[in-house]
Symmetry: C2
Subunit: 350 residues, 2 copies
Amino acid sequence: MEHLEYQEGRTELAAFGEFPLIERLTDGFVPKNKSTRLGVGDDAAVLGTGKVKTLVTGDMLVEGVNFDMMYTPLRHLGYKAVAINLSDIAAMNGLPRQVLVNVAVSNRYSVEALEELYAGIRLCCDRYDVDLVGGDLATSRAGMVLSVTAIGEADEDAITYRSGARMHDLICVSGDLGSAYSGLLVLEREKVTYQANPDFKPDLDGYDYVLERFLKPEPRLDIVKLLKEKGIVPTSMIDVSDGLASELLHICKQSNCGCEIYEERLPIDYQTTRVCSEMSNNMLPVSNALNGGEDYELLFTIKQQDYEKIKDCDEVHIIGHITEAGSPAVMVTPQNTTIQLRAQGWQCNE
Amino acid sequence: MEHLEYQEGRTELAAFGEFPLIERLTDGFVPKNKSTRLGVGDDAAVLGTGKVKTLVTGDMLVEGVNFDMMYTPLRHLGYKAVAINLSDIAAMNGLPRQVLVNVAVSNRYSVEALEELYAGIRLCCDRYDVDLVGGDLATSRAGMVLSVTAIGEADEDAITYRSGARMHDLICVSGDLGSAYSGLLVLEREKVTYQANPDFKPDLDGYDYVLERFLKPEPRLDIVKLLKEKGIVPTSMIDVSDGLASELLHICKQSNCGCEIYEERLPIDYQTTRVCSEMSNNMLPVSNALNGGEDYELLFTIKQQDYEKIKDCDEVHIIGHITEAGSPAVMVTPQNTTIQLRAQGWQCNE
C-alpha cells in the first residue's frame, strides 16, 4: 500500500499546455472500429457508417476554475454548460440533437439550487431543440463539477474539420469578439469592490451585452443554417472558445497553412471598447478580441468563389485569408505592420 | 451581486436519494427529436432512426467519494472508469464502440500520474475493442474527477430495457455477487492499520480475487455475446452497480411486477465468505451479495421457454422468478422465511 502520486521523475502539469498534454496522453490510441471516422483532435468526434454521421463532444466545467459562484447564477450556468457543447457541434457544421449532463455537487448545494441549474439546462435544450437523455448525479467533496456530452448529426458531405483550409481561402468569423471576456472583466471588478465592502451595490447598467455574452453564450447554430441556405460548405471551422488567435493557430496547424488577418476587420462591440477603456492597464480592444476567449463564435474559412454568397450577411465578417504552408499566422495593423499571432489562451479566471 | 446558494426554503440533498432526485430534476424533459428513442431512466439512452440504434451512457467518478487514492492505482482507476461505462452498454444488451473521457485534476498530479491513468484507459479500450474519441482535460481545485461517456450499438430487436420483465420470467445473474464490496472492505481495513502505523506492510495474500473485483471490474460483454449465440433476448436487464437488491427493485418498478429470489441460489465466492467471517460485526455474505454494489455483473430476466438454452452456462445463475404486479420483491431463505428486499445501495465509501 502506498500513496500513488509519483514523487520521482515528476513532471509538473504546468510544464505542458492543455493541448500538448492531451496530444501526449492520447498518442497511440488508434481507432479500431469502422464506425469511428474521427477520434480525438477536432471539436467533436465523427461516428457512424451511414451518410448521416453522428457527432459527439464533451466538456467539463469546474467551480472555482471555469466558473465563480460569486457571480454566476445557477440558471445561467446550466444554460452555458449546454450551450458551449452545442457550439462544438456547430463547429463541425452539424446540428445538435441530444445532451447528457453529469453533475457532481457537495452538500453546500440544496435541491432548490440544483433545480435552478436544471431550469437553465432545460431552457437551452428547449431553445435549440435538444433532448436531455441522461446523466449522473454524484457527490463532490468541494464545489460543483459539470460534465456535458453533446450528440449531433451532419451529412458526411457537410462536416467541416479544422484541417481543410487551403491557400487563398477567406477567413470568416461570426458575431463579435472579445465581448465575453469584457463581461468577465466587469464581473471581476465588481467582485473585488464587493469583497472590500459588502454594502456596495454593483452598478451593471450599460454592460448588459458583455455580461450576457459571458454568462449566457449562444451557440451559433443560426450560422450553420445560414451556410446551408447559402449553399456554402466551409473548408474548415472551429468555435472561438480560447480566443481568435488560439483558434486560428489550430486551423493553421491542422490545415498546414499560414494566415493573414486585418486588425481593422475584427468585429468588436462598443461595450467591449468601453470596458477596455475603463481598465487601468490600458487594455486594447484588439487584445480582447484576439485572446479573450469564451466568445463561442464560429471561425471558418470559405473558398473565394463563395464570397458573393456571403458578403451581405450581417452576422459574418471576412477578416483575412489563408496563406501558403510554411507562412506564419499574422495580423496586419492599420499602420501596415505585421504581428505574429500567439496563443495566449484563456488565463484570467484560473 | 450575491452569493447564489439559496438560504431560504432550503431542501438538503440528503432529503432525497440519488434516483428520486434525478427523477425530480429531469421530470418534464420531453424528447423532441425523432432520433431520441429513449432518454433518461435506463442504463443508457437509445438514439437513432435506423434498425441499428446508438446507445449512450455517462458516469462520473469523484476522488474521495467514488475512489480513494490511498489504495487505488491510477492505472486501475483509468481501467475501471472505462469498464463501468461499458457495463452500462452491456446492460442494454449492446456492444460498446467508443468512449470520451473528461478528466479534471489539480496540480497535485504529475504528467506521469496522468500517463498511468491513460495507460489504464487504453488497456480497457484495447481489451474491449473500444476507441477513445475525445475528452477534455480541466483543472480542478481539489483532487481528480473523471467523467466518461460510452457509446455503443445494438439491433433494435435486441435492445433490452429495465421495463420488460413479465410474470413467470426467470431471474438470472452472471458471475458472483458481493466480491467487489469484500475487496473494498479488505482495502479499508488495511488502510486503517497503515494509517495507525506507516511501517505496516499490508498482507493481501489470499484476497487477490476480491481485490481485483473491486479495483479492476470487467464489463460482462461476454454474456451479451453468449446470449446472442444462444438465441436469447432477455426480457429485461440492468447491471449490478448498487447491489442486487437495488437493481431488482429498479426492474420491478419499471416492469411493474414483483419478484422472488432464493438465498441459496445467490452466487457467492469463497473469498467473499472469508472476508465476511473476518469482519468484527458478523457480516453475512448474503448481505454483501444483496447490498454490496460495484459487482458490474448483469442481472436479467428471460422467458421460461429459454431455460433449456441457458441452464448449462456456468457463468449464468438462475436465482428466482418474476411475480405479478402488486407483489413485493422478496428473498426466500433456506428456512423458507421471506425477507422483503430494500435498496440499501452503496454507502460504505461515502
